[in-house]
Each structure stands twice: as structure tokens, then as C-alpha cells.
């Protein structure tokens, strides 16, 4: 007569499950990014340099074309920018910080300068691009 069918349902095959899980794993590995972006809100600049205030209550950060940064004409290291700006401002909190970007300066320097100006406690921060900063 016929043989009794062997009951093997206790251990169903795991291979399809593993296949699917591997596929999901590879999908998530490829599509996720761990890059944490930050955002920095900046007021858009006035269309012309002439609209910026130029009286004594202005500290200027110069982003020079050769990659160096200067505060009111004194060159500073990029790491020491925030500290130098604090010294230049001192106790006068009603100051405006103006960031002048010369032709050839990079966005990284601009971001560094904006952040330093923000942290220095100045009342307002302005940005402008100039062809060449007069020495």
C-alpha cells in the first residue's frame, strides 16, 4: 500500500526568508545616508555694497581671494576668527558685522565667517561681494 506521507511541517525552509531579509538589508544599506546636515539661516544680502552701513560701528570680515581671512584688515587664522571677532567687538553689542567676499573666496570661508559673526553677539550681520577689497 501507499506509504504514510512524512510530516515535516515543523521546520519549514528558512531560505526564502533569509533571501528577503538580505535583500531588504542591502536596500536599506544603499539608500540610507548617515550624513547629518545642519541648516544655517541667513538673511539675503542687499543688492549693492553701497547700501551697507560704513560708519564706526561696523566690523568688517574680509574673505580674500587667496583664501585668507582678515578682520578690518588684520589677517587672522580661520580657527581664531571667532575669538578675534569677539575681541574686535568687545563690549559694544550694537555693532554690525559685514562680511565682504572678494572674487576667488570659497563658500567654506563664507560659512565660517557667517557662523563666527553669529556667535560673536553682533546685532546684525550683512554680506556683500566685491570685486576686490581695497587694502
Amino acid at each position: 500500500m501507499f506509504e504514510e506521507p512524512v510530516r515535516r511541517r515543523g521546520m519549514a525552509s528558512l531560505t526564502p526568508l533569509i533571501d528577503v531579509v538580505f535583500l531588504l538589508l542591502i536596500f536599506f544599506m544603499l539608500t540610507t545616508s548617515f550624513l547629518q546636515t545642519q541648516s544655517l539661516a541667513v538673511v539675503t544680502p542687499a543688492p549693492s555694497v553701497d547700501e551697507l552701513p560704513t560708519d564706526a560701528r561696523v566690523v568688517e570680515i574680509w574673505l580674500l581671494g587667496n583664501g585668507t581671512i582678515a578682520i578690518d584688515g588684520t589677517p587672522v587664522e580661520r580657527a581664531a576668527l571667532a575669538e578675534g571677532l569677539k575681541q574686535a567687538i568687545g563690549e559694544r553689542k550694537d555693532l554690525t558685522v559685514t562680511i565682504l567676499a572678494e572674487k576667488g573666496s570659497k563658500t567654506q570661508a563664507l560659512i565660517t565667517a557667517i557662523e563666527a559673526a553669529r556667535q560673536s553677539g553682533a546685532k546684525s550681520v550683512g554680506t556683500a561681494r566685491v570685486e576686490r577689497i581695497a587694502p
Binding site: L14, F28, T44, I111, A128
Partner: protein, 134 residues
């Protein structure tokens, strides 16, 4: 002749279980720790910064490439005329918020020129995207 008991080949499932455990853990890790981002047609290396204003849900993203060209969606344009296109684009979307993804080696004047154009288009504030670091 001595006959040995034949060992039944039952052990293959047991050895797979730790593997499945690890793979599940990895899966859950990537699910929780990663953030999905829509693919963009330009790759930029963001400038490093320390501050975070934690602005979320920024609808229109402009990308400034390292050579100074500006991408809006799938259109590439010069920084000088980007403001005009942004105005059209914002008109469609009805939003005044703009995020700018600039390459860290992009010329600062291109970013500023773009921001001037945005001011003319009626955008008072832009959000520059940076990467954590110093």
C-alpha cells in the same frame, strides 16, 4: 565489519539561526539609524559648520556646484539669473522658503550673487545647508 550509526544531517538549520539574527539586527539598525533622502542629480560636498538652526521641511533646494553653476530641480543656470527662475518656481509652489546647498569649494561670490537674486525674488531669508564638523 563494524557499523557506525549514521549521523542524520539535521544541523544545517541550527547553524543558520545566528546568521539570521545578525542580519535582522543589521536590518533594524539601518532602518532606525539612517535617513532616506531623495537622490539628487548633483553631488556636492557641503561646507563644514558648527551652528544648527534646525529648520525642517525646506521645500525648494538650490544646489551650487563647485564651479559656481546653480541647479534648480533638473535645470542648471548661472547664479546671476537664478533669482528669476526661483521667482517662477516659488510662484508655482506658493512658498517663500528656500534652502541652498552649496559646495564648500564653490565661489562665495556665486552664493552671494544667488542670494541677491533671491532677495530680488522676494526671499528674505535663505537656509544654507552645512555638515557637522569644524
Amino acid at each position: 565489519m563494524i557499523e557506525f550509526d549514521q549521523e542524520p544531517p539535521k544541523r544545517q538549520f541550527e547553524t543558520l539561526i545566528p546568521l539570521i539574527n545578525v542580519v535582522f539586527l543589521l536590518l533594524i539598525f539601518f532602518l532606525l539609524a539612517g535617513t532616506m533622502q531623495p537622490a539628487e542629480n548633483v553631488a556636492v560636498s557641503l561646507p563644514k559648520g558648527a551652528l544648527n538652526d534646525k529648520e525642517r521641511d525646506l521645500p525648494s533646494t538650490l544646489i551650487v556646484e563647485a564651479d559656481g553653476f546653480v541647479w534648480l530641480g533638473d535645470r542648471v543656470m548661472d547664479a546671476k539669473i537664478a533669482g528669476h527662475f526661483v521667482k517662477q518656481h516659488l510662484g508655482e509652489e506658493g512658498s517663500r522658503r528656500v534652502a541652498v546647498k552649496a559646495d564648500r569649494d564653490a565661489p562665495a561670490e556665486a552664493v552671494l550673487e544667488l542670494m541677491e537674486g533671491l532677495r530680488e525674488a522676494g526671499v528674505e531669508q535663505v537656509t544654507l545647508l552645512t555638515e557637522r564638523g569644524s
